[in-house]
């Protein structure tokens, strides 16, 4: 293997505690308790090592990072380490004073989550009174002049409200609105039956996004496609151990926030090892790095340099073996396991046996469509899951290598 390139981005899950109860939460089903969270000094050391290693951006996330009282201290430590900091928050608990303290410490941007444009629906999805707090938070972020992203995780319960959600983002003054279809890991996998879109929902939402894009240059509208529906694997994390790393609240370091579910990964911890060793040498970070682990058809596929074989966690969740091609890909032998029918083609094509199987599967999953958050509550008696941010990261990371204007000034200016 060639030398390992340094990482660009760090997802710092400062805590798994959160005032919200979203059923699609990206935190692991086994949440990490507050008593084993890294302390301020330990996080500062993580940021320092990350900066030395080459990380330039960090998302201070959770759970709800505002639940960390030492958040200003953590922002300052990250900023001092040369990391560009973004707070990823539900907005609950963000006051003018709190935000001023964070900006003073070096905070460079905020991503605010919203669940629906209509307060009652939003709070039903979030499982908590939160809409007024979010609206207030949006105003504070704008007033502080910080770059402001609004994040929406899309699922059956809000896909039909994309029009209103974009209008909300415009009204709240967001610079960027990310509409990310649910990725079925962790809590979202557990609550999949209640979250999976109805036929046609995704297509209509996508058309709405395209219509808004034609109308407005700003805010930037980001659509994170549902890989299960498109038949195209996502370039998960921009490649395993290639762009980004995640540090969990207890110091566990993962190539992806969902990777804790993979068997035999034996993820390292910042308490035991330096981040540079973890990134370059650890078994966990080398497990699916590069291409040597790939099986057919990925191994010989032209897409392997753009999708990196897709998502390992999804391959494991659906096939039982993380080395298999991501079933989301229509080339994958296990594509029939994808629990979502491709509605755009179903109407016009005669169903193949594979499609029929897919159909049958979906029906089975539809049984009790109850409230996802209720199940979350039952399953997480200790601590509630937090907001979802991994989609955001994927996006980041996918684009992190984007190279600009080499030819324009590379030689010319010299």
């Amino acid at each position: 293997m060639t030398a390992v390139e340094p990482p660009w981005a760090l997802l710092a899950e400062l805590t798994h505690a959160c005032p919200l109860r979203c059923g699609y939460c990206s935190n692991p089903v086994r949440l990490i308790g507050r008593s084993v969270e890294l302390g301020s000094g330990e996080w500062a050391e993580v940021f320092r090592q990350a900066g030395e290693l080459g990380v330039v951006q960090t998302h201070l996330s959770g759970g709800e990072p505002l639940l960390r009282r030492d958040l200003p201290e953590l922002v300052a430590a990250a900023d001092t380490a040369g990391l560009h900091t973004q707070l990823v928050t539900s907005g609950v608990g963000l006051t003018e004073r709190r935000l001023a303290g964070l900006v003073g410490a070096g905070l460079r941007g905020v991503q605010l989550s919203v669940q629906h444009a209509e307060p009652t629906a939003a709070e039903r999805i979030a499982g908590a009174h939160s809409f007024a707090a979010k609206e207030r938070a949006a105003g504070l972020i704008r007033a502080a002049g910080l770059p402001f992203g609004l994040n929406v995780v899309l699922h059956r319960g809000n896909l039909d409200a994309v029009e209103e959600l974009i209008a909300l983002g415009v009204a709240w003054g967001a610079d960027r609105i990310e509409l990310a279809n649910t990725q079925y890991h962790g809590w979202a996998a557990r609550n999949r039956a209640a979250l999976l879109p109805e036929p046609g929902q995704v297509e209509r939402a996508r058309e709405t996004v395209l219509r808004w894009r034609r109308r407005l240059d700003e805010p930037e509208l980001v659509w994170v496609a549902p890989d299960l529906l498109t038949g195209t694997a996502k370039p998960c994390m921009g490649g395993w151990g290639r762009i980004s790393l995640t540090v969990a609240p207890d110091g566990t370091v993962l190539p992806c926030p969902a990777a804790a579910t993979l068997p035999g990964l034996d993820p390292p911890n910042v308490k035991d090892r330096r981040l540079a060793w973890i990134w370059r040498e650890s078994t966990a970070f080398n497990a699916y790095r590069g291409e040597s682990w790939m099986r057919e058809p990925c191994r010989g596929c032209a897409l392997r340099t753009t999708d990196f074989g897709g998502c390992r966690c999804q391959a494991y969740a659906l096939t039982g073996d993380a080395r298999n091609p991501d079933p989301a890909c229509h080339h994958a032998p296990d594509h029939h396991l994808v629990p979502l029918r491709r509605t755009s083609t179903a109407a016009t094509h005669r169903e193949t046996p594979a499609e029929t199987r897919r159909e049958a599967r979906r029906e089975a999953l539809m049984e009790p469509p109850g409230e996802p958050r209720r199940e979350v509550r039952r399953e997480a008696p200790v601590e509630p899951p937090g907001e979802v941010h991994r989609q955001a990261h994927r996006e980041v990371l996918g684009e992190a290598h984007r190279e600009a204007h080499r030819e324009v000034l590379g030689e010319g200016g010299a």
Partner: protein, 84 residues
Amino acid sequence: MTWRPVLARTVALRHDRVRDTDLLLLPERVVVLHGRAGGVLRLCDGSRAVPEIVAVLSAAFPGAPVAAEVPEFLSALRKEGWLR
């Protein structure tokens, strides 16, 4: 009105010590700048018009095709929304 380029509010110009290169940091994105692109952008502080930026660079790098390349570079970044 004369355009006096300045980086957009959501864009930060940063030198990357580890990779020894200049970067634009955006929410969810990193743009790697090559050659002297970073130096050009450091002149984009909202006070200088494009011809002034060209003049500064021409004086600093005599013989370089600054007039041919810099305005095009700046327009390209404006189109991306990174320069205002």
